[in-house]
C-alpha cells in the first residue's frame, strides 16, 4: 500500500505522458536483510537527535553523571526551558524571531525572483536568454567563501553591516533555484494554456501570476524550503556581518553561548541551556519538512534532477 502511494506522490503529475508511473510488480518481494541494514543505518542518523532530546531533559549535573542515551531520574526539561528563555534577558526568543524573519523574508524573496526568472527562461525565447541562463548555471559553482569577505566590505562601506539587510539581501540570490524553476516550469506549464490566456487578452504578467505561479506550486515549495534552510542554517554570513547580539540569528547566538560555556569555569550551568536551545531551535524546520514533504518531494521529483 505505502509503496503505491509514495510512487504517486513522488512522481506526481506525468506531463506529456513522458514519465509513466511504474507498474507495481508483484514479484517485488520484501527483503529482511535489506530492511535490517536500512533501519540500522536509520539508527545512526537518529542517534544524535535522540541524544539531544534526552539531554534537553537533564540539568547540567545530570548531564555529566548519567548515561548519555537515557533519561536521568529527575526531569528538568521545563526548568531548562525557563532558563533558556530568561538567560541574558530573554535574548533567545529574540534570536528565534530574528532567524524566522531573516529566513522567511529571504526565502520568499528568493523564491519569487527564481520563479520569475525560471518561468521566463522556460517559456520565452528572447535574445540573450541562453547566455544569461549559462551564466546562472555557472554561478552555482561560485563558492560563498570568495564572496562573503568582499560583500562584507561593500556592505560596511554602504553602512549596511550589523543590520538585518546584510543577511537578507545576499540570501536573495539562488542560481540553483532558478535552474529548478526553469526545469519545473517547462514541465508543469503547458504552452497551449499560455497561448489560450493570450487569446483571452491577458497580459504577460497576469498570465504568470494567475496561471504560471499556480501550476508551479510544488516547485515553489521546493525552492522555498531549500532557501529557507539555506538562510536558517547559515552561520558564516551573520557571523561576519553582525556585531550586536540582539540581531543574531539562532546559529550565531548558540555558538556564542557554547563558546562561553566551554571557556568559562564558573558558567557551567550554561551547558544545559545550550543543549535545550539547540533542541528548541531545530523543531520548526523539522516540523516544516514533515508537513510539507509531499510538496517538496514532488517538486524535486518532477523537475529537479534532469541533466
Amino acid at each position: 500500500m505505502t509503496s503505491l502511494e509514495t510512487r504517486a506522490i513522488v512522481t506526481g503529475r506525468t506531463p506529456r505522458g513522458r514519465r509513466r508511473p511504474r507498474p507495481y510488480t508483484p514479484q517485488r518481494r520484501r527483503s529482511w536483510l535489506l530492511t535490517i541494514v536500512l533501519w540500522a543505518c536509520v539508527a545512526y542518523f537518529l542517534l544524535p537527535l535522540w541524544w539531544l532530546t534526552v539531554a534537553s531533559t537533564k540539568d547540567t549535573s545530570a548531564l555529566f553523571s548519567s548515561f548519555g542515551l537515557w533519561f536521568a531520574p529527575e526531569f528538568s526539561f521545563f526548568d531548562n526551558l525557563a532558563d533558556l528563555f530568561t538567560t541574558r534577558g530573554g535574548l533567545f526568543s529574540r534570536w528565534m524571531l530574528n532567524t524566522v524573519l531573516y529566513a522567511g523574508v529571504s526565502a520568499i524573496g528568493a523564491t519569487l525572483l527564481a520563479a520569475m526568472a525560471g518561468y521566463a527562461f522556460a517559456k520565452y525565447r528572447f535574445p540573450g536568454s541562453s547566455a544569461l541562463f549559462s551564466i546562472t548555471l555557472g554561478a552555482i559553482m561560485i563558492p560563498l567563501t570568495a564572496l562573503a569577505l568582499p560583500t562584507y566590505l561593500l556592505f560596511s562601506r554602504a553602512g549596511l553591516t550589523d543590520t538585518p539587510w546584510s543577511i537578507i539581501i545576499p540570501s536573495l540570490v539562488s542560481p540553483f533555484g532558478v535552474y529548478l524553476m526553469r526545469v519545473y516550469a517547462a514541465d508543469a506549464i503547458p504552452d497551449s494554456l499560455i497561448e489560450a490566456a493570450r487569446m483571452d487578452g491577458a497580459g504577460e504578467f497576469r498570465i504568470f501570476w494567475q496561471v504560471g505561479l499556480r501550476l508551479m506550486g510544488p516547485g515553489l515549495v521546493t525552492v522555498f524550503l531549500f532557501s529557507l534552510v539555506g538562510t536558517w542554517n547559515n552561520y558564516f554570513l551573520p557571523l561576519i556581518m553582525l556585531n550586536s547580539s540582539e540581531l543574531y540569528p539562532i546559529t550565531v547566538g548558540l555558538a556564542q553561548l557554547q563558546a562561553a560555556a566551554s571557556a568559562g569555569g564558573g558558567s557551567q550551568a550554561v551547558f544545559s541551556t545550550v543543549i535545550t536551545g539547540s533542541f528548541v531551535s531545530i523543531l520548526p524546520l523539522v516540523i516544516a519538512f514533515l508537513f510539507l514533504q509531499r510538496y517538496w518531494q514532488s517538486g524535486l521529483g518532477t523537475g529537479g534532477v534532469k541533466g
Partner: protein, 312 residues
C-alpha cells in the same frame, strides 16, 4: 514556439506581439539579475581588485600586483589547509555519496519495510543547522560524558579520543556525512523515480536481477543527478568552515587557525586584519573549486560522448 517562427519570417522587425513578449521576459529576469550582479558579480570583482593591494602600517594601501598570490603559493598554512580539504574530498565524499546512492537504490527497490519513514528520517539531519550538528557531535564525542566514550568504556575499549589532532579530521568527516547523506539521497532518489518504466520492462524480459538492473540501468540513468551531487560536495568540502570553527572551542589543540582555507581566510581577515591577503586566499580557493568542478563536468561529458559513440 510561435515567437521563433515570427522572428524567422520577419528578420528585420519582430512583430509587436513578439516584442511585447521579449519585454515581458526581460522584466521577469530583471529582478533576479539585479541582485545577482550586486551580490555575486560586484563582490567577485571587488575581491579580485582587493587582492592586488597591500595595506601597511606606514604608507597605507599600495598596489602590489600578484604579490599576495605569490605569498599564498609559498604559504605552508594555505597548502596545509588545502591538503586537509583535499583529503576530506577524497575520503569523505565517496563515502557520503556511496551511502546516499545505496539508500536511494534500496528505497527505490521497495524491498525494505517502512522505507517511506526511513527516507524521511535519513533526510532529517539536513534540517539541522551545521552549527547545531557540530555542537551536538562535539558533546557526543566528549571524553567525559559523551555517550560514545561511555559505551566504549562499558564494553572495555577504554576512552577513545575523537578530538585528538590525529582523529579530528575523521570526526569532522563523520559530522558532514551525517548532515548531508540524506540531502544527496533525496536528489538521487527523485532521479530514480523519474526513470521511464519501459527500461525496466526491457531488463525484466532480458532476465536481469536486482543488482544487474541497478548497475546497468538505474545508475547510468541517474548519472546527471550523481554528477550534480559530486559538484555540490566538491564545493562544500573546499568551503568547510562551520565545523572547524566550532570544534575549535572543544578541541583547540587539534584545530589550527588555518585548518581549512576558508577558516584561514576568515582568521586572516577578522583576527589578523589582513584583508588583502585574505581576499587573495578566498579568490584562489574559488579558482580551485571552479577548476575541480569543471574537471568533474568535463570528465562526465567526455564519458557521455564516448558512450554515445559506442552505442551508435
Amino acid at each position: 514556439m510561435s515567437t521563433t517562427q515570427t522572428r524567422a519570417g520577419a528578420t528585420r522587425r519582430p512583430s509587436t506581439a513578439t516584442r511585447r513578449q521579449h519585454r515581458a521576459a526581460y522584466l521577469f529576469v530583471l529582478p533576479f539579475f539585479v541582485v545577482f550582479v550586486a551580490m555575486l558579480v560586484v563582490p567577485l570583482v571587488y575581491s579580485g581588485y582587493l587582492s592586488l593591494f597591500e595595506r601597511r602600517l606606514i604608507g597605507g594601501e599600495s598596489f602590489v600586483g600578484l604579490a599576495n598570490y605569490l605569498r599564498a603559493f609559498g604559504d605552508p598554512n594555505f597548502w596545509g589547509g588545502l591538503g586537509r580539504v583535499a583529503t576530506f574530498l577524497v575520503v569523505q565524499v565517496p563515502i557520503m555519496l556511496g551511502l546516499a546512492l545505496f539508500f536511494a537504490l534500496a528505497l527505490d527497490s521497495g524491498r525494505a519495510r517502512g522505507s517511506r519513514s526511513a527516507r524521511l528520517l535519513i533526510f532529517m539531519p539536513y534540517a539541522v543547522p551545521a552549527v547545531i550538528a557540530t555542537l551536538m557531535w562535539g558533546y557526543l564525542y566528549g571524553p567525559d560524558f559523551g555517550p560514545l566514550a561511555q559505551i566504549a568504556r562499558a564494553v572495555g575499549f577504554g576512552t577513545p579520543d575523537f578530538l585528538s589532532p590525529q582523529s579530528i579530521l575523521g570526526s569532522m568527516m563523520n559530522i558532514v556525512t551525517w548532515e548531508f547523506v540524506g540531502y544527496n539521497m533525496i536528489i538521487m532518489y527523485a532521479a530514480l523515480r523519474a526513470i521511464p518504466a519501459e527500461l525496466y520492462e526491457a531488463a525484466e524480459i532480458d532476465g536481469a536481477g536486482q543488482f544487474r538492473t541497478a548497475w546497468s540501468i538505474k545508475i547510468p540513468a541517474i548519472r546527471p543527478a550523481i554528477i550534480l551531487t559530486v559538484i555540490f560536495s566538491v564545493i562544500g568540502s573546499f568551503q568547510l568552515f562551520n565545523e572547524p570553527s566550532l570544534l575549535n572551542a572543544v578541541a583547540p589543540d587539534a584545530i589550527s587557525n588555518s585548518f581549512t582555507p576558508n577558516y584561514y581566510a576568515y582568521n586572516l581577515a577578522f583576527i589578523n586584519q589582513e584583508l588583502n591577503y585574505a581576499s587573495a586566499i578566498a579568490f584562489l580557493l574559488g579558482l580551485v573549486i571552479a577548476v575541480v568542478s569543471y574537471v568533474v563536468q568535463l570528465g562526465e561529458q567526455r564519458r557521455e560522448r564516448r558512450e554515445r559513440k559506442g552505442t551508435a
